[in-house]
Symmetry: C2
Subunit: 356 residues, 2 copies
């Protein structure tokens, strides 16, 4: 199916693709930016449907839990997980009712974890706005997360595949256990690289794996094809988290909407910081202070960022993200060529370039 | 099947039946106490299996979330919800693998809600011990609740009935929304009686309804029979909550393990207090102060309790609980006579007599 057969739709409000595109343009990657523009048109209709369905979740509901959840859902999220569901479905027969249900569900589960994480991390801001817990309170965000989780599971069950539901239940367990492992290590700099990747696989990659599997199943992709999609999801998810971690230590706070070293300030070790402990021993006392939650002054983030850039840590992390994305692409060899596969390649190529 | 055919087993550690029995003895209800002794033997084997399965949940797991959940599960819970699953199953073919899975799951869901509720209510004690959040922190209890919820759903899904799973998802939504409605009314005395019963149906009766349905389905009970069991569960659940509410305002703190007026101190209106607002206007300023979270001194609970007793409020609430239980029993008319039905009658008769 050619891109040209897709009518031009309004650009979705939640525009991760546009953000990726601008990232590529800024980096002089014009061919990639062009491909992202095509991808945006390719998915416009599907994502519009997903956005409409998400906007209707809990519409008219009045409890603080639901208000809290709707507040978060209405913010400008990246919608990357629904995008990968849609692309996986297009590898098969396309974006049907089941794929739409899964695309909505994956976003709801993601938002449920954000509501709970913000309570756990005492987070004040999210997606450039006040966190739901700041407006509606911690209790509302706890119940709001519970509610979104179950709303998601209802949608998955109604779509009819017991296997897709069972995998989601396993994924939620993985996510919760990984978050809890991260919690147990809070405030400690001595996380090992293997623990870091174990946590990232559980807390981030697991949901990308599921998104690819669910989309593939909805599209009627073969078992072998689905496993290839899952492997892509796993690698894309880890790369996505690596870039998140880089943006936390060396991003542009204007673009990300987060202050530098926010993760470390919550006591969370990230991969760039693990690298920094080896490469920049002079930073260790400062990183320990931030990790222990000490007030270190607003200029520290910028100083750490420039040192991580000059020492090559930032480049090393992005190189690893790019390597994972290339492996993700290589793993798609069994998937037939076509618009969907090209789009998956584009997403993987663009992921390390994103700036928000 | 006669009670006499069941070998004598060890008394289950989690002994709601024993507690009911002692309650009946204290109230001079010896025939009922004798029936509860029979019920205890009838279910000893099933509940032993449930206890063993619950003790194995997350065994060897190490994260704070799982430690938090295991701490709560290891406390001396009433296990009333697994009991009603077992009895509903015995209305049919008996306590099989599916019934056991549902009995374990209903207890896990109940405990998941307790973990989250204790964070929301900043509860310090639970089941006569430190609340999990006091030992492991709020974050561990939030993730611990999430984890138990999903553990429960996995067990229900594996048992194989999509309908039983769909009903549980709906019930969890009802519970969360009811808890959130209660939250929205926190600190306000002007809850209406109809709002109170709406909240109780959602936060308490819904899980009893599910327990009866799931047990009935596992036992192969007919659709009509299951609906009768659900109706029993709904009425028993409301009566159970009414008794809980009475114990909160006029129970023996030694027996309940909770201080008097704990619910009101968390800003929650209960049925006895709704009655008190009408019958004992002189108590209103005091109740408002407790509801607003003001420190009122330890003697206030006892004073309110004796006034609610002398004004007839306590008797009125227990009379309503007894009426609901008699209605629950009357609704079992289509269920064939037998040990299981007798046991359901006994549980309903004993519920208003419990003292913990």
């Amino acid at each position: 199916m050619s891109i040209a057969t897709y009518p031009i739709q309004r650009v979705p409000h939640h525009d991760v693709v546009g953000a990726l595109e601008r990232g590529c343009q800024e980096h002089g990657l014009d061919p990639l930016a062009g491909k992202l523009a095509e991808l945006r048109l390719f998915l416009a209709h599907d994502l519009d449907e997903v956005d409409r369905a998400i906007a209707a979740v809990g519409l008219g509901a009045e409890t603080p839990a639901q208000a809290s959840a709707r507040h978060l859902l209405s913010q400008d999220g990246k919608r990357l997980r629904p995008i990968v569901v849609a692309l996986a479905a297009h590898v098969g027969k396309g974006f049907n009712d089941a794929a739409r249900a899964y695309a909505v569900a994956v976003e709801l589960v993601h938002n449920a974890t954000l509501l709970h994480d913000d309570v756990v991390d005492v987070g004040a801001r999210r997606r450039g706005a006040d966190a739901a817990r700041v407006i509606y309170g911690n209790a509302a965000s706890i119940f709001g997360g519970d509610w979104l989780l179950v709303e998601a599971l209802c949608r998955i069950q109604r779509a009819g595949s017991a296997e897709v539901l069972a995998r989601m239940l396993d994924v939620i367990k993985e996510m919760v256990i990984a978050e809890s492992m991260q919690l147990a290590r809070r405030g400690k700099l001595d996380t090992s690289v293997s623990d870091y990747f174990h946590i990232v696989d559980g807390k981030t990659a697991s949901l990308f794996r599921w998104a690819m599997f669910a989309g593939g199943r909805a599209g009627g992709v073969s078992d072998e094809g689905c496993e290839a999609l899952v492997d892509y999801g796993k690698k894309l998810g880890v790369a996505f988290q690596l870039v998140d971690d880089v943006l936390d230590v060396a991003g542009d706070p204007e673009a990300t909407g987060k202050t530098l070293l926010a993760d470390l300030g919550e006591g969370k070790m990230t991969y760039p910081l693990l690298c920094a402990l080896e490469r920049c021993p002079e930073l260790v006392p400062l990183l320990e202070a931030v990790c222990a939650g000490e007030e270190v002054g607003p200029e520290v983030g910028g100083r750490v960022a420039s040192q991580l850039r000059s020492s090559g840590v930032v480049d090393e992390c992005l190189a690893l993200a790019r390597k994972l994305c290339e492996e993700a692409i290589a793993g798609l060899s069994s998937i037939p060529d076509g618009v969907a596969k090209s789009a998956l390649v584009t997403v993987a190529r663009a992921t390390p370039e994103r700036r928000r």
